[in-house]
């Protein structure tokens, strides 16, 4: 019998790639993952994260039993406890004393039930989602302009465009498969222009014809300038504006007031007038333009306005609703969109209906059979945790997210939860920073067990199908929520399967959704009576899916019809505002945060895949060489970053891709994996007044060198016991754990300290190798059991620690050779053997040194050549920008060698 093959959807970014999973050994969760060749999002492609999903579905770190106060309990006890406590608090303090904080990781069905329970039956709108941190500004932008939270475009528009403007989006790393589609479009159509607008020179710039490295937060000024330019150059679509829009004149006046001419815009943005003119001219002169925007726009104190500044330009030039056109928000999470559809945000009701609209509240109440439906906005994420801190919210239920890491001012969130009366956390992972603070822990199913739907960022609903039955006591989130709802005495939560919920959700989307009651964009009423068989067979489809559009809808607004009361799109006058907290004398740098190529969110899953940890193993701070020079930094040194809200330690990465005066830190590290790597602790809790989305991209920080007394590298097959080390990062490798350590306290008995870390007593010393240079503060210890390396620890006061690549590789060897043994504590391969260096290509595990050597040996001048020799870059393609950089570096080195006069 051939192994079963199941089609499902990737749980990472918002691209929503289809996956074909082949069950090799279901018992042991062994599964082969490849891209679904038929899925319209990816047509078989996957990025490094998606491709390694098979490595994340083990039971490692899984929460498999409900717990109350650290005691394992059965489900009935846990559910009853949660229901009673929530009911009691609501009875005593009112519905607004409880809150849910949910996640774009939830399936639409989970999301729907959570929202129904809180808004429909508890009667509060205190349910917010981590999508608040990622795309709520985009929601406001779309709603203000179109009267509906509806993405007009789709991926094919990227392929049909003549110009793609990527704003505040490192698409190459954050939405890699969408980026690959753009890259291929550019390859097949060299006339396609790509512009990147980003303070950083990211890997996305690899395919850019123009990169505008604007001053952080100046996007609205730039797009106001563009609107002014379109008007002045007669590049407006007067007909579209007149027939389908309103408020153009005040909007243009506002734009002109802030961005009178090119020079003013260029000066304000800190770029050349020539580059600005180039962008404007391209935008004006091409009919098919897509503006892609993401967190660089959204995560801002004026994110909503930035979205509208962009949308204004598309409306003004009529570049919307047509193939190859549109303002295209890229959402971060697999089901951020599903959350928006069910009303998972505290300022929405359900199915694109509004809390403040009494007719909507009434309608939803009738549909749900409840007279308690919330009628005003609830607490948005930052407010929600503030309310927890102040004791106004006494019980919070967190589902599938990790706010202790991901929220701004994250230390405050941590303190808030520490003092909260009742913290319930549902998650599939046992050891998260947030789970550590839970009174009640509820084991939820993981990606490979989930059954339901998700919506990707082009409105495409896809099925997520289970590969395995739920592990241990894990249950679907919708089941957990429904069980609590029933125990709280609420009717309407008798779901037997996710299909029941999807059907109800579809029915609500079509309920009184017509010209008589008012038309809502979100309508999947075609599925209102879908049965289990059709649900299981559901093919990816873009909403609306209605009786008229049974095959879904590729683009919106093609007919010029919008969802505002008057049916016209609204221009929104924008007054550009810079970051709320500007850098000053005390905090001179602007901290920018974001994703890495190979990690996802708080790394609870991606860090399980060893392959994904080798690209960027430690939290880093990227800084421009000029700043590094002034601060006395050296590459790979350590730095302390401090804001008014918190501090962290990070490894220094000096790079010209960073603007002077601005630093970048990845958002992923948690306390589980790093002692002081949570950048959220530093991020200012400023939010956009309309969207409530935090300004995570611009926080003033102080940056200084952090000089440890000693540094260490520890590699071990077993997790090591490391406590009280000031700088500590834990990395999972292939068959080993890797720790980067540093401290400022003196280690009096260095050999003794090292032995304790590796759990080595005098008996075990007989299996050990050690190196010491007491004067230099160096000590190195390794244990070899039965010929195999089991652990090694390098400590130094002054010297460089070894690049761990070769050492890590030794864990894969069944027997160390005599030469390897002798070289072991040098950290370098025996003479004559090659060190592969840092991993660049995660798919094929190809190291930097191997690539550079191959470039030199074969005189390669293209990434295709590297791919032919080493396969690097031929998998997910995420490393192609880096391969190009390596080619350029190798070329430069070769040139220098040639041009250096031979001294005689």
């Amino acid at each position: 019998m051939s192994p079963t093959s199941i089609k499902t959807t990737c749980p990472y970014c918002g691209v929503g790639c289809g996956i074909e999973a082949t069950l090799i050994d279901p018992e042991n969760h062994i599964v082969d993952i490849k891209g679904d060749a038929q899925h319209p999002a990816n047509f078989g492609r996957l990025c490094s994260k998606g491709a390694t999903l098979g490595d994340t579905v083990s039971l490692e770190n899984r929460l498999l039993q409900p717990e109350i106060d650290g005691q394992t309990v059965d489900w009935d006890s846990a559910l009853t406890h949660v229901a009673r406590r929530f009911s009691a608090i609501v009875a005593e303090h009112g519905p607004d004393a409880v809150a849910f904080y949910v996640s774009g990781q939830l399936l639409t069905e989970d999301y729907y039930v959570a929202n129904k329970l809180m808004k429909g039956f508890i009667g509060s709108a205190n349910i917010d989602t981590n999508s608040r941190l990622c795309m709520s500004s985009a929601v406001v932008g779309y709603k203000r302009a179109f009267g509906a939270d509806a993405v007009p475009c789709n991926y094919e528009d990227l392929e049909q465009a003549e110009l793609i403007v990527l704003v505040g989006s490192n698409t190459a790393w954050c939405h890699p498969v969408a980026f690959q589609r753009i890259r291929r479009a550019k390859e097949s159509n060299p006339a396609l222009k790509i512009v990147v607008i980003d303070p950083r020179a990211t890997s996305t710039c690899d395919i850019a014809d123009l990169h505008l490295s604007i001053r952080p937060g100046m996007d609205a000024l730039l797009f106001n300038g563009l609107l002014t330019y379109l008007a002045e150059t007669e590049s407006l679509d007067r007909d579209f504006i007149d027939r389908h829009c309103q408020d153009f004149v005040p909007t243009l006046l506002a734009a002109r007031a802030s961005a009178f001419d090119l020079d003013e815009v260029a000066a304000g943005c800190g770029v050349t007038a020539h580059d600005v003119a180039q962008l404007f001219a391209w935008f004006a002169n091409h009919k098919k333009v897509v503006t892609v925007y993401s967190q660089g726009i959204n995560q801002s104190g004026s994110g909503s306005d930035k979205c509208n500044a962009i949308i204004n330009c598309h409306l003004a030039s009529g570049k919307i609703g047509k193939p190859g056109c549109g303002p295209f928000s890229l959402t971060g999470q697999p089901n951020a969109m599903g959350g928006r559809e069910v009303g998972g945000l505290a300022n929405m009701l359900a199915a694109h209906m509004d809390l403040e609209n009494p007719r909507h509240v009434d309608r939803v109440g009738r549909f749900w059979g409840s007279d308690k439906v919330a009628n005003r906005q609830g607490l948005k994420a930052v407010e929600l945790f503030d309310a927890v801190a102040e004791g106004r919210v006494k019980a919070v239920w967190i589902m599938a997210t990790n706010p202790v890491v991901s929220m701004p001012d994250a230390d405050k969130v941590k303190r808030a939860l520490q003092q909260c009366e009742l913290v319930v956390v549902s998650d599939c992972i046992a050891n998260t920073d947030t789970m550590a603070l839970a009174h009640v822990k509820l084991p939820a199913t993981g990606w490979s067990e989930k059954d339901g739907t998700v919506t990707n960022l082009e409105r495409r609903i896809s099925r997520q199908r289970p590969l395995f039955p739920p592990s241990g006591q894990a249950r679907p989130d919708w089941w957990i929520i429904s069980q609590v709802a029933r125990r709280m005495g609420f009717a309407g939560f008798d779901y037997q399967a996710s299909a029941d919920i999807f059907r109800e959700h579809a029915a609500l989307s079509g309920f009184e959704n017509d010209s008589m009651h008012g038309v809502r964009a979100f309508d999947i009423s075609a599925f209102a009576d879908i049965d289990q068989v059709r649900f299981d067979a559901l093919q990816p489809v873009q909403w609306p899916v209605t009786a008229k559009a049974t095959q879904g809808t590729a683009r919106l607004f093609g007919d010029g019809g919008f969802y505002t009361p008057h049916g016209r799109a609204s221009f929104v006058p924008i007054v550009p505002r810079g970051p709320v907290h500007a850098a000053d004398a005390a905090y001179q740098f602007t901290l920018n945060t974001g994703r890495l190529r190979d990690q996802w969110h708080t790394m609870t899953r991606t860090a399980l895949a060893a392959k994904l940890n080798s690209h960027k193993p430690e939290p880093t701070v990227e800084i421009h060489p000029a700043d590094a020079l002034q601060l006395g930094f050296r590459q790979q040194g350590l730095a302390r970053l401090t804001s008014r809200w918190g501090s962290m330690l990070a490894r220094v990465d000096i790079t010209v891709s960073q603007q002077p005066g601005s630093v970048f830190v990845p958002m992923h590290w948690t306390e589980q994996l790093s002692s002081r790597g949570r950048v959220g602790a530093l991020v200012n809790p400023v939010v956009d007044p309309l969207s409530g989305q935090p300004e995570s991209k611009q926080t003033p920080v102080r940056v200084e060198a952090w000089q440890p007394r000693w540094q260490a590298l520890l590699l071990s097959r077993q997790p090591a016991r490391i406590e009280g080390v000031e700088y500590q990062v834990k990395v999972k490798g292939d068959g080993y754990w890797r720790y980067h350590l540093a401290g400022r306290d003196a280690l009096d008995d260095l050999p003794g300290w090292c032995r304790a870390r590796l759990n080595i007593g005098s008996a075990e010393m007989a299996e050990c190798l050690e190196y010491s240079d007491a004067a230099a503060g160096d000590y190195r210890l390794a244990r070899v059991e039965a010929g195999q390396l089991s652990a090694c620890l390098f400590v130094t006061a002054q010297a460089e620690l070894p690049e761990p690549g070769w050492l890590c590789g030794l864990f894969g060897k069944t027997e160390l050779s005599r030469k390897e043994r002798l070289s072991l504590l040098s950290g370098l391969p025996p003479r004559g053997e090659q060190d592969v260096g840092r991993t660049v290509c995660s798919c094929f595990n190809v190291g930097e040194k191997t690539i550079l050597q191959t470039i030199a040996e074969h005189k390669l001048d293209s990434v295709a050549g590297i791919g032919a020799c080493l396969s690097a870059g031929t998998g997910c393609g995420s490393c192609l920008p880096e391969l190009k950089t390596l080619l350029a570096d190798a070329g430069k080195a070769a040139l220098e060698q040639c041009s250096t006069p031979k001294s005689g």
Binding site: M765, A766, E767, C768, L769, E770, Y771, S772, D773, A774, A775, A776, D778, V784, T796, A799, E800, R818, R821, L822, S823, L825, S826, L828, P830, R831
Partner: protein, 405 residues
């Protein structure tokens, strides 16, 4: 008429000097050599393999009798040809049997004698040194009929003898006054590895004690009593407690001697017609026991005898190796180091690999390698060249590193 050169001592130092001289000035001297052993010139270092049977006497000969004939060198060798007196006025050398030879230049290369400790019973049969072919032959003969061997001395020679006798099938115990073996070449930790390895081969050790008395019957050794009063069965006792320069003749002829014959940088003694090389000399306070500096002396002395201008002899740093199969050991320079020195250590406890480097002001002053001596030559060069190792310090001990140009 050629000048006459007489050489007293047919060992490695004297004959190496003659060799060098033949290269430089083959016609200058009429050469006469006196040797107390009845052999040609042989490689004393090879006595160890001779003992355990890896080599024959022929194998270890450097110059057989034919060589002397071919080179027209007169060789008087054997017990009765031992030189008993030198008349410095008449410039005449006389052997025990009355053989005599006149000289214009005299080269003394009488080597050294085993240091025979003054232990009661030491004159019994079966108590011996490990110095020459006769000693080796005696040991081999004993090993064929006897069981128990005791070696007094855990230095290089003692361990080589112990290993040889063990190979010959004897049950061997090494008695060493110091707490660890090879205390002139190794520190305690390296010596511990060595001891373990030799114990694995079957050699037993009694450390921190010495032989207090030799016990026996009819003038034959049967046991030894140790300083802790314990008794060990002993059919032979090999004294390997060190060597002393053989200077009796030189003292008798009135040359200036302290522990050895005093020579200047040109290997000249207090009599400017008389030269001395090898283990019998004392140069700038130093005595010699290893082949490399002795050969260097031979080279300098030969140039002097050939009448060539030449730089003087400078004491050479030299490394020690142990000639026991399967044991890799390299020791050079000051491996203890004072308070002003720094140490690097590399230990593979399981494999018994040990390295120690002593550094002073970024210069290596001493090193021990045990268990793996690959690349010892590279380290020796760093020491000889006084190379500054600051830039490669953290990689130094593992293997040769490219030194920045």
């Amino acid at each position: 008429m050629k000048e006459k050169l007489v050489v007293i001592g047919n060992g490695m130092a004297g004959m190496r000097t003659v060799d060098e001289l033949m290269q430089l000035a083959p016609e200058r001297y009429e050469i006469t050599v006196f040797g107390a052993e009845p052999h040609g010139n042989y490689n004393r270092i090879m006595l160890t393999p001779l003992l355990f049977g890896a080599k024959s006497i022929d194998d270890i000969m450097i110059h057989d009798f034919a060589w002397y004939r071919r080179n027209r060198i007169t060789l008087h060798c054997g017990e009765e040809k031992s030189v008993v007196s030198v008349d410095r006025i008449k410039r005449r050398v006389t052997a025990r049997d009355g053989t005599s030879a006149d000289y214009d230049r005299l080269l003394i290369a009488t080597g050294s004698l085993p240091l025979m400790l003054d232990i009661p019973g030491r004159d019994m049969e079966g108590v011996m040194g490990f110095r020459d072919i006769a000693d080796v032959q005696a040991m081999i003969e004993k090993s064929q009929t006897k069981q128990h061997a005791v070696i007094l001395g855990g230095g290089l020679l003692g361990l080589e003898a112990a290993n040889g006798l063990m190979q010959r099938g004897m049950q061997v115990t090494v008695v060493n006054r110091a707490g660890h073996l090879l205390n002139r070449q190794l520190d305690g930790q390296a010596a511990g590895f060595l001891q373990r390895q030799l114990e694995d081969k079957g050699i037993e050790f009694r450390l921190g004690v010495t032989v207090a008395e030799v016990l026996g019957r009819d003038g034959h050794i049967g046991k030894v009593r140790l300083s802790d009063n314990s008794l060990l069965p002993a059919d032979i006792l090999v004294m390997a407690t060190g060597i002393q320069p053989n200077i009796g003749l030189s003292q008798a002829m009135g040359l200036t001697c302290e522990r050895g014959i005093i020579v200047d940088d040109h290997l000249q003694t207090s009599d400017d017609r008389v030269y001395a090389v090898g283990e019998c000399v004392q140069h700038r306070g130093e005595l010699f026991g290893l082949v490399a500096p002795v050969y260097e002396q031979a080279k300098v002395c030969a140039r002097q005898l050939a009448g060539r201008a030449s730089g003087g002899y400078r004491s050479l740093l030299s490394a020690t190796m142990l000639k026991v199969t399967g044991i890799d050991l390299f020791s050079v320079g000051d491996f203890e180091g004072g308070a002003d020195c720094q140490q690097q250590l590399l230990v593979d406890h399981a494999e018994g690999v040990y390295r120690k480097i002593v550094i002073k002001d970024n210069i290596i002053t001493g090193m021990i390698m045990y268990g793996d001596t690959s690349d010892s030559g590279w380290y020796l060069n760093l020491i000889k060249n006084r190379t500054n190792i600051a830039a490669i310090r953290d990689r130094l001990i593992f293997s040769p590193v490219e030194l920045a140009a």
